[in-house]
C-alpha cells in the first residue's frame, strides 16, 4: 500500500475526499493528494472502513476532480520534525517552511495530536508573570502555565494587547530560556505582519517560532495548525526546558473551519451548527498548556478570540471560557471612549492567580486589593446605572464618590500606554490611591491593617 498511488476517489465534498476500495488504511494517517497539474496537497484520514476511506484535504478540495486525482497513503501519522533550529522560523499549518528556507530536518519527529497529559504528572501554575499591565497584573494575574484567553471583537485592540503582553512579560534574566510560539489561523496579512514587526523591533525574533495560516489560505489547514504549533511548544518547553508563551489567534477562525468540516461530514450539530464535540476538540488544544512536575519548562497560553457580534454566550467564547483558566474581556464601550487597553473589569477573571500572588510572590495585600477593586467597581457600576436614571443630584455623598472611583479606575488604572511597563508595586500603589477615594468603611474586603498601612485618607469621624 505504501508508496502506491490510487485513483479511486469516489466523491469530493467540502474539503473531504472519499476514497473507495483501499482496505486497511489507519485512522489519522497522513495522505498525499496529487491533482491533475501534479501539485500535491496534504491530507489526513478522518474515518476509515473496509469500503471507503474519508480523507480531509488540508488545502481544501477546490480544483480537484475524481478522474485525475491521485492519493497516496503514507502509513504514518501526522508528524513534524523538531529541533532547536525551530527558533526564528516561519511555517505553515503542517510545519512546512513559509520563509523560503529549507525544511527542518531532525530525527526527532512527533505526532501533532500529542497524547493527553496525565493529570497526576502536572503541577499547578503558580509563578506570577509580570506583564507590566495594571489590569492584568493587579486584577487578573497571569501565571506560568496558565491558559488565559483574550475575548475581543472586530476592531478592538486585542493584537496590540497580546503583543504588549509578550513584549513586557519577557523575563530578562531568563531570556535564553524564553520562547514565543505564535500560531495564526485565518488572520489578515496585516495582523500577522504586525506581530512579526513587533517581535523584530523588540529583538526577540530569534526566540519566536511562527505558524501562519492567513485569511486567504486554506481554512482546513487551520484545524491542524494549533496542534502543530503546540507540538513545537511542548518540545521547547519539556525537551529544552524553556518557558514558552503561546499566542493562538484567532480561535473563532479555527472553530469555523471545524464547523465547515463537521457540516461536510454530516455530524449532528449542537448549537449554531457547531458540532457537539467542539468542547472536547478545543480542550485538546487548550489543555496542552501547563506545567509538568518533573520538567523545568512551561507552556503559558494566550489565545485570542473574537466574539461573534460581541456575544460572550456565543458557543465559541462560551466553550472556551468553560475550558480556560479565566478570560480577559475587552469592552467596545471603553474602547470607544479611547481607553487602552479596554479591559472590561467585571466579566474578566483569572482563576489561578490565587496561587501566584500575595506574600512572597507579589505583595501580601494583593489578593485583598484585587477583591476590593472588583467589589467596589461592581458597586460603582450599580451607582452609575442608578445615576443614569435619577441623575446625580439625588445621590448620596458616598455614591458620588463611587462615581468618581469608577471613572478614575477606568482612566488611570485601566488606561495605560502601549509601551508603559508598570511594576506590580506601582500597580498596587495606584490601586490604593484610587481605593482611597472611597471611605474606609466602604472597603469591606481588605483588612483593618491594610487600611492603616495603605489607605490615604484619614478616618474622618462622621458627625451626626
Amino acid at each position: 500500500m505504501r508508496g502506491k498511488e490510487y485513483r479511486l476517489g469516489s466523491a469530493l465534498r467540502g474539503g473531504l475526499l472519499f476514497v473507495r476500495g483501499v482496505p486497511g488504511v489507519a485512522l489519522g494517517d497522513r495522505v498525499v493528494v496529487r491533482d491533475h497539474a501534479g501539485h500535491t496537497r496534504n491530507g489526513q484520514v478522518i474515518r476509515t472502513s473496509e469500503e471507503v476511506v474519508l480523507v480531509q484535504v488540508l488545502e481544501g478540495t477546490d480544483g480537484l476532480d475524481l478522474e485525475r486525482t491521485w492519493t497516496r497513503f503514507l502509513e504514518q501519522p501526522f508528524e513534524i520534525a523538531l529541533s532547536n533550529e525551530l527558533m526564528g522560523r516561519i511555517f505553515n499549518g503542517v510545519g512546512q517552511p513559509r520563509d523560503d528556507r529549507p525544511p527542518l530536518v531532525s530525527s526527532i519527529r512527533r505526532n501533532v495530536n500529542g497524547s493527553p497529559m496525565n493529570p497526576a504528572a502536572r503541577t499547578r501554575p503558580r509563578e506570577f508573570i509580570q506583564t507590566g499591565i495594571s489590569t492584568i497584573d493587579g486584577l487578573y494575574s497571569l501565571v506560568r502555565g496558565q491558559k488565559l484567553p483574550i475575548f475581543s471583537g472586530p476592531g478592538l485592540p486585542h493584537n496590540r494587547l497580546a503583543a504588549q503582553i509578550v513584549r513586557q512579560s519577557r523575563i530578562i534574566a531568563e531570556r535564553a530560556r524564553f520562547a514565543v510560539v505564535f500560531a495564526a489561523m485565518g488572520v489578515s496579512y496585516a495582523d500577522a505582519h504586525f506581530f512579526q514587526e513587533d517581535f523584530e523591533r523588540d529583538g526577540v525574533l530569534g526566540n519566536v517560532v511562527m505558524y501562519i495560516n492567513l485569511a486567504d489560505d486554506p481554512p482546513i489547514e487551520r484545524l491542524i495548525l494549533p496542534r502543530t504549533a503546540l507540538t513545537a511548544a511542548e518540545y521547547l518547553a519539556y525537551d529544552l526546558g524553556m518557558h514558552v508563551m503561546v499566542i493562538l489567534t484567532d480561535i473563532t477562525n479555527y472553530a469555523e473551519a471545524l464547523r465547515e468540516v463537521a457540516m461536510a461530514r454530516g455530524d449532528v450539530p449542537a448549537r449554531k451548527g457547531y458540532p457537539g464535540y467542539l468542547y472536547s476538540d478545543l480542550a485538546e488544544i487548550f489543555e496542552r498548556a501547563g506545567r509538568i512536575r518533573s520538567r523545568s519548562g512551561s507552556i503559558t497560553m494566550v489565545p485570542v478570540l473574537s466574539m461573534p457580534s460581541d456575544d460572550i454566550t456565543h458557543p465559541i467564547p462560551d466553550l472556551t471560557g468553560y475550558i480556560t483558566e479565566g478570560q480577559i474581556v475587552l469592552s467596545r464601550e471603553l474602547h470607544n471612549q479611547g481607553i487602552y487597553p479596554p479591559v472590561d473589569l467585571l466579566p474578566s477573571l483569572s482563576r489561578v492567580m490565587k496561587d501566584g500572588i500575595g506574600a512572597g510572590e507579589t505583595r501580601e495585600d494583593h489578593p485583598r486589593v484585587a477583591n476590593q477593586i472588583y467589589a467596589s467597581y461592581a458597586r460603582a457600576i450599580e451607582v452609575r446605572n442608578l445615576a443614569s436614571i435619577i441623575g446625580t443630584e439625588d445621590l448620596s455623598e458616598t455614591d458620588r464618590r463611587y462615581l468618581e472611583f469608577a471613572r478614575s479606575i477606568e482612566t488611570q488604572f485601566v488606561t495605560q500606554g502601549e509601551n508603559e511597563d508598570r511594576s506590580i508595586i506601582d500597580t498596587l500603589t495606584l490601586a490604593w490611591q484610587l481605593l482611597s477615594l472611597l471611605p474606609p468603611g466602604e472597603l469591606g474586603r481588605v483588612r483593618e491593617a491594610d487600611l492603616a498601612k495603605y489607605h490615604r485618607q484619614k478616618q474622618v469621624a462622621e458627625a451626626p
Binding site: G24, N113, N118, A120, R124, E284
Partner: protein, 597 residues
C-alpha cells in the same frame, strides 16, 4: 462468553465497528494492534458496535477484535482511598510510572496494588459453618488511619462459610475465606471483588430518615440544605463558581468518604486537590483529608468514552463504601460533560437527536444515574448513604437547555449560580431566588435539636428580607432611593448586611472558608438582631441616616472573618457589644415617638 477472533470493519472516531458474532451488549472487547479496550453498545447481525475508551488513531480495518467476556467492572477493595484513578479505574500515578508524563494507549494497569499487604482482622462472630450472604462483613482492614475498610461478601454470593483466614497480613489477591453456596460450588473470597459499574449495587431497603450534610458553607447549610443521601445540582455559567462549591464541599463536609469526580474538566483542578488535600485536616476528625478522599479523573483532553464511563465508575465506588456503612458524598464536575460524551457517541451512531443534538435517552440515563444516590439499609443491616452533587455547565449559561432542565426535575437541591453575582464577586454566587431545597423541613429538625430551635424561623425571616430587598431595589432603580420609607431603607441595609456578612463566604479566607453550624447560626442571629434593633429604633423616631452611620454595621459585615469557629465567645461578646451600640440612640429618642424619621 466467546473467544472467537473478530476483525475491525470501520473506525469512526471512538466508535469502532467490528465483525464479532455472539458478543453481548456491555461486554468488553480489545481491538487493534495496540489492544485498545472498549465495550459493545450495539449489535447488527454479525457486527458489533464498540465504543473505545482510548483514542482510536492508527486503528485500521482488518485488525483484530477480541472479546473479553466481561463488562467494565470496578475492583472493590482496600487501596482506593488517597488515590487518583482515571474513568476506567486505572491508577494515574501507576500509569505515570509506566508511561511517563503522558498517558500512553493500550496500557493495562491493575486498579488495586497487588503487592501491598493489608492487616486483616476477621469478624469475631464468624467461623467455619456460619451462614453468610451478600454484604456480610467478614472482617476489616484499616485502609487509612481514619477509615476502617470492611471486607464484604460480594452481593451475589451467599451460603456457608467453609473457612475464614485468621488475623494477619494479606495481599488483595490472597484468598481469605471460602463460601459454599447451596448448589455446592465453593467461592473463594479475597480482600476485593469486582462489580460491573453500570449496575447499581443492591441494598436492603431505602431509608427515608436523614440528617443534613454539613458543608460548612452558610448559603448551603442555612438556606438550601442537602441531606446525607440526597441529590443536588450546581448549575452555572463558566466562571460562576461550580468547581469552587464542589471543592469546598470536598474539603469541609462531614462526609465519611469523599469522591471527587473530574469529568471532562481541567487537569489543573485535580492537581489542586492532589497538592492541597494532603496538607489539609478534616475539621471533624482532625485527620488528613486525603485519608477519606479518592479522585476519579477523566479530564477534558482525555478520551470521551472513558469520560462517559467515569460517572458510573465513581458512583460504584461510592456505593461500595456505602455498603460498608459510610456516608459517602460524590461531587461530579461536570455532568454536562458526561452528557456531551453521550451525545458524541449517539451522533456517531447517527441516532436521531431530539434536543440540541442530545439523544432521546438523555433524561432516562440522567435519572438512572441520580437514582443511585440515597440512604439505605445495607445488605449487612447497617446504614449508609450516597449523596450525589453534580455540576451542570449550561451552554451560554442558559438554564432552559436540556441537561439543566432534566436535572432540575431529578434533584431535590438546586444551587443555581448567577453570573451577575459572580461578576460582582459575590461568592459563592448562589442565587437565593433561583435556588431551592426540598430538604429544608428534614434539616430543620436537626438544626432545632442540635443548634437552635429558632433556626427555621430565622431562615425564613432572612430569606424574606432578601426577597423583599430585591423588590425594593427594583423600585430604587426606577425612581431612586428617596421613594422608599425609612423602614424600607433599613430593609435594604439589612439585606446588604446579610449578603456581605452571611451569604458571601470566601473559599480563600482562612478563618471563614469553613463555618461550623454553631457559627452559622450565631452570625444569622447577630445580623437579624441588628435588623430588629434598628427597626425598633426607627419606630421610636430615630432617623434612618443615624442608623446607617453606626460604625457597628461595618464590624458586623466583617464578623465572619473576625471570629473563627473556635472563637464563639468572641462572637457572642461582639453581639452583646452591638446591642449596646444601639443604646445611646435608644435613650436619646426615648419617648419622642413623634420625632421625624
Amino acid at each position: 462468553m466467546s473467544t472467537a477472533l473478530g476483525r475491525i470493519i470501520e473506525v469512526n472516531g471512538p466508535i469502532v465497528t467490528v465483525f464479532l458474532p455472539q458478543v453481548t451488549i456491555g461486554e468488553q472487547v480489545r481491538v487493534g494492534e495496540l489492544a485498545l479496550v472498549g465495550e459493545v453498545i450495539g449489535r447488527d447481525g454479525g457486527r458489533a458496535v464498540v465504543q473505545v475508551y482510548e483514542s482510536t488513531e492508527s486503528l485500521a480495518p482488518g485488525q483484530s477484535a477480541v472479546p473479553l467476556g466481561h463488562p467494565l467492572a470496578a475492583e472493590l477493595g482496600p487501596g482506593l482511598l488517597g488515590n487518583i484513578f482515571d474513568g476506567l479505574q486505572r491508577p494515574l500515578t501507576e500509569i505515570r510510572e509506566q508511561s511517563g508524563d503522558r498517558i500512553a494507549r493500550g496500557l493495562t494497569v491493575a486498579s488495586l496494588d497487588r503487592k501491598r499487604l493489608w492487616h486483616f482482622e476477621p469478624a469475631p462472630d464468624l467461623s467455619a459453618g456460619s451462614t453468610v450472604a451478600g454484604g456480610t462483613v467478614i472482617g476489616a482492614v484499616s485502609e487509612t488511619e481514619t477509615i476502617m475498610h470492611r471486607i464484604l461478601v460480594p452481593p451475589d454470593v451467599n451460603g456457608e462459610l467453609v473457612n475464614l483466614a485468621p488475623a494477619g497480613d494479606y495481599s488483595v489477591e490472597q484468598v481469605i475465606a471460602q463460601v459454599r453456596s447451596r448448589d455446592g460450588a465453593v467461592h473463594p473470597l479475597r480482600l476485593y471483588h469486582r462489580w460491573p459499574v453500570r449496575k447499581a449495587r443492591p441494598y436492603g431497603r431505602r431509608d427515608q430518615a436523614g440528617v443534613p450534610l454539613i458543608t460548612g458553607q452558610r448559603v448551603l447549610d442555612t438556606f438550601f440544605p442537602l441531606l446525607k443521601g440526597g441529590r443536588a445540582a450546581v448549575p452555572g455559567a463558566f466562571g460562576a463558581g461550580k468547581t469552587m462549591v464542589q471543592q469546598q464541599i470536598a474539603r469541609w463536609s462531614n462526609a465519611g468518604i469523599m469522591i471527587y469526580l473530574g469529568c471532562g474538566e481541567r487537569g489543573n483542578e485535580l492537581v489542586e486537590i492532589l497538592e492541597t488535600f494532603p496538607q489539609l485536616t478534616d475539621p471533624y476528625t482532625g485527620r488528613l483529608l486525603m485519608e477519606r478522599t479518592l479522585l476519579v479523573a477523566n479530564t477534558s483532553n482525555m478520551p470521551v468514552v472513558a469520560r462517559e464511563a467515569s460517572i458510573y465508575m465513581g458512583v460504584t465506588l461510592a456505593e461500595y463504601y456505602r455498603d460498608q456503612g459510610y456516608d459517602v458524598v460524590m461531587v461530579a464536575d461536570s455532568i454536562s460533560r458526561w452528557a456531551e460524551a453521550l451525545r458524541e457517541v449517539a451522533g456517531r451512531l447517527e441516532q436521531m437527536p431530539v434536543e440540541e443534538g442530545h439523544p432521546a435517552y438523555l433524561a432516562s440515563r440522567l435519572s438512572a444515574f441520580y437514582e443511585r444516590a440515597g440512604r439505605v439499609q445495607t445488605l449487612a443491616g447497617g446504614y449508609g448513604s450516597v449523596s450525589l452533587i453534580g455540576a451542570v455547565s449550561p451552554p451560554g449559561g442558559d438554564f432552559s437547555e436540556p441537561v439543566t432542565s432534566h436535572t432540575k426535575e431529578i434533584v431535590q437541591a438546586f444551587w443555581a449560580l448567577s453570573k451577575e453575582l459572580a461578576d460582582a464577586r459575590h461568592y459563592p454566587a448562589i442565587d437565593w431566588t433561583e435556588s431551592y431545597s426540598g430538604y429544608v423541613d428534614a434539616a430543620a429538625v436537626w438544626w432545632a435539636k442540635n443548634v437552635d430551635p429558632r433556626w427555621s424561623a430565622h431562615r425564613t425571616e432572612a430569606l424574606g428580607l432578601l426577597l423583599q430587598s430585591d423588590e425594593l431595589a427594583r423600585i430604587v432603580n426606577l425612581v431612586g432611593p428617596e421613594a422608599l420609607s425609612p423602614a424600607q431603607r433599613w430593609v435594604l441595609e439589612a439585606a446588604a448586611l446579610l449578603k456581605e456578612g452571611l451569604l458571601q463566604q470566601s473559599a480563600l479566607d482562612d478563618v471563614d472558608s469553613f463555618c461550623s453550624p454553631e457559627r452559622q447560626f450565631a452570625l444569622l442571629d447577630l445580623l437579624l438582631d441588628l435588623y430588629h434593633q434598628g427597626r425598633d429604633l426607627l419606630g421610636k423616631g430615630v432617623p434612618v441616616q443615624r442608623l446607617l452611620q453606626l460604625p457597628v454595621l461595618g464590624r458586623a459585615r466583617r464578623a465572619k472573618s473576625a471570629y473563627s469557629n473556635g472563637q464563639m465567645d468572641g462572637l457572642k461578646a461582639f453581639a452583646a457589644e452591638m446591642r449596646d451600640a444601639f443604646q445611646p440612640l435608644s435613650l436619646e429618642y426615648a419617648g419622642s415617638r413623634e420625632g421625624s424619621a
